[in-house]
């Protein structure tokens, strides 16, 4: 696709018209600046967005956020809402890491107060939270115990004594997606995940200690109890091997059942089934179980961070949940369409729910910044209540490993005042700041487009990753 194939709607939004390709059911819209669009058209993410626009039952637009980049089938940074009765559900539109998401914790400490303890704190967090390839956690959940987690999500972990029930209110869907059915999660998926609760994993997942660098909206910051200089902790991880196996299992199921429903798609990774079909319903129930596993995982990790925090800073030092939000998920929601309320299934793959007044967490890469935003009413009208999810890669992991030196990166982070506790130098290099788009530019687009508002800019001071 070339830039000339898009029509500029306004400075922060471009459209690929429905006539661009005969099989599009709706137009596609891209939230971006013109400068970022020049880089977006270099990969195949917009061709993938056009493929998404062909899904049966898709409503209004296929939508790409400014952090969009090429994914498997669906672009990462994409939103697709399908009719809840006539549409299809596609596991590829959620992604392999079901309910990959972000949780922000606020402390009552400032950077000055914490500085002397920071190296030991980072080390303690790394000790409490296993990270890296295939690393299992300290707890094993099997049989009925695991099923209760898959049904109960973060709430089940609280029942087991890890956290308090009032913290659940600060989690998307209160940390539990309804209709989860553990029986539909395969034995393989359960075996992959049984020892992974409380672990970060590898890739771009991390725990970061951050300082609130700048307050950008005083009133909202006060509402979220955030102020400049305050130390916060950001957790980014998902459903680990269990979620990946659920996705793999159901992409396979849907690849097999599509001919029966006479569905043809332009890319195998868009494999889907009618929402109303047994396969569609089973996926929704299995996905809900995997999403609950991810909420439970972030709850267990929070418990580990609190242990490390109390160990290094004293037993009366609280860490409260600001918010916890998914950015790889499908949700059944009601939205206003053609002047009437309509029930849709919103696929968010690398996109964050941004309902009015809701905190939105946008993790950046280490060494740059992360953002706390707030959702706006206009997101409900334009993007099915969705916004961006991060910086978005510009360099593949392989390219990053070829071009970036591990020792040089560690030195650079150190000069920037960032402590890095990484299970491997390779993992660190893959996530170097230059492998990502400019996070400031990404959130600038969503603010200017009116789909989310900046509340605070956060800067990392310690990074723990796989």
């Amino acid at each position: 696709m070339e830039k000339r194939d898009l029509i500029k709607i306004h400075d922060w939004m471009w459209e690929i018209p429905r006539k661009y390709r005969w099989d599009m059911n709706v137009p596609a819209r891209v939230y971006t600046s013109e400068a970022m669009l020049d880089s977006i058209v270099r990969d195949r993410s917009l061709d993938q967005l056009v493929n998404v626009a062909t899904l049966p039952g898709i409503r209004k637009y296929a939508i790409a956020m400014p952090d969009v980049h090429e994914g498997y089938g669906f672009p990462i940074g994409g939103v697709a809402a399908v009719d809840a009765e006539e549409g299809v559900i596609s596991p590829g539109g959620i992604g392999y890491d079901i309910n990959c998401g972000v949780r922000l914790l606020r402390s009552r400490k400032t950077l000055e107060e914490i500085k002397p303890f920071l190296p030991k704190l980072a080390h303690s967090i790394a000790r409490e939270i296993p990270s890296g390839v295939g690393r299992g956690g300290k707890s094993v959940f099997k049989g009925a115990d695991l099923d209760r987690v898959l049904q109960g999500g973060a709430g089940r972990i609280v029942e087991l004594g890890h956290g308090t029930a009032d913290g659940l209110k600060a989690i998307e869907s209160n940390g539990r997606i309804d209709r989860a059915e553990p029986k539909l999660v395969s034995d393989h998926a359960k075996e992959r995940g049984h020892d992974q609760l409380g672990t970060i994993g590898s890739g771009n997942h991390f725990v970061e200690v951050e300082v609130v660098d700048t307050i950008l909206d005083d009133a909202e910051a006060r509402r979220f109890e955030i102020e400049a200089g305050q130390i916060v902790v950001l957790i980014h991880t998902g459903s680990r091997g269990l979620g990946h196996q659920v996705a793999t299992d159901f992409i396979r199921v849907m690849t097999g059942c599509m001919p029966r429903y006479k569905i043809t798609i332009p890319d195998r990774e868009l494999a889907c089934a009618p929402v109303s079909s047994p396969e569609g319903q089973q996926y929704l129930q299995a996905m809900a179980a995997a999403a609950n596993f991810a909420f439970a995982n972030r709850q267990m990790i929070t418990d580990g961070i609190r242990r490390a925090w109390r160990w290094e800073l004293g037993k009366d030092e609280p860490l409260e949940i600001v918010y916890d939000v998914a950015h790889n998920i499908a949700k059944i929601e009601e939205h206003q369409l053609d002047g009437a309320k309509a029930k849709v299934i919103v696929h968010r793959k690398g996109a964050t729910r941004a309902f009015p007044g809701q905190p939105v967490l946008i993790p950046g890469s280490m060494g740059t910044a992360s953002y706390l935003l707030v959702g706006l009413e206009s997101a409900m009208r334009e993007t099915f209540g969705s916004t961006c999810h991060g910086a978005g890669r510009v360099m593949s992991r392989m390219q990053a490993k070829r071009e970036i030196s591990g020792p040089e990166l560690r030195q650079r982070l150190s000069k920037m005042g960032v402590i890095a506790e990484a299970a491997s130098t390779k993992g660190l290099v893959e996530e170097a700041p230059e492998a990502y788009k400019d996070i400031d530019a990404v959130v600038d687009v969503v603010q200017r487009a009116g789909i989310a508002k900046k509340v605070a800019r956060l800067r990392p001071v310690a990074v723990v990753k796989g």
């Binding site: 890491d97 295939g134 890739g203 990946h244 690849t255 097999g256 195998r268």
Partner: protein, 120 residues
């Protein structure tokens, strides 16, 4: 990863070997393990991806690698094989899934080939 071979069986065997290298097994033990595997799929592309995913899942669950396969039967829609391999201490690369992205098993001028893209 681009894979090509003279036969469909060779393509499956080479893709398997490639995947086992990609996961970077750590501390491979001498003990030999064998696993039976049967996969069915609508076509040869889906079959290869589903076969590799099935192997990958077993690697994760059992902490084993299976670089060798004896194919009892292999058609474009089903594979029946005995895998042979070894226990390992862990993996250096987190290959989470084998995707259908860009996969297209084709025979052209006597060679079978496909691209394989992994979720890492």
């Amino acid at each position: 990863m681009r894979v090509s071979a003279a036969t469909l069986e060779g393509l499956f065997a080479d893709a398997l070997r490639g995947l086992m290298e990609l996961v970077k097994p750590e501390y491979i033990r001498a003990q030999t393990v064998r696993v039976q595997i049967h996969v069915a799929a609508p076509d040869s592309t889906a079959l290869l991806i589903d076969f590799l995913n099935e192997v990958l899942t077993r690697c994760h669950i059992r902490r084993e690698i299976y670089p060798r396969a004896a194919f009892r039967s292999l058609t474009s829609t089903s594979v029946d094989a005995e895998l042979e391999g070894h226990p390992v201490a862990g993996f250096g690369e987190d290959v989470k899934a084998v995707t259908y992205h860009e996969a297209d098993v084709r025979e052209h001028e006597g060679r079978w080939s496909t691209m394989l893209v992994f979720d890492i």
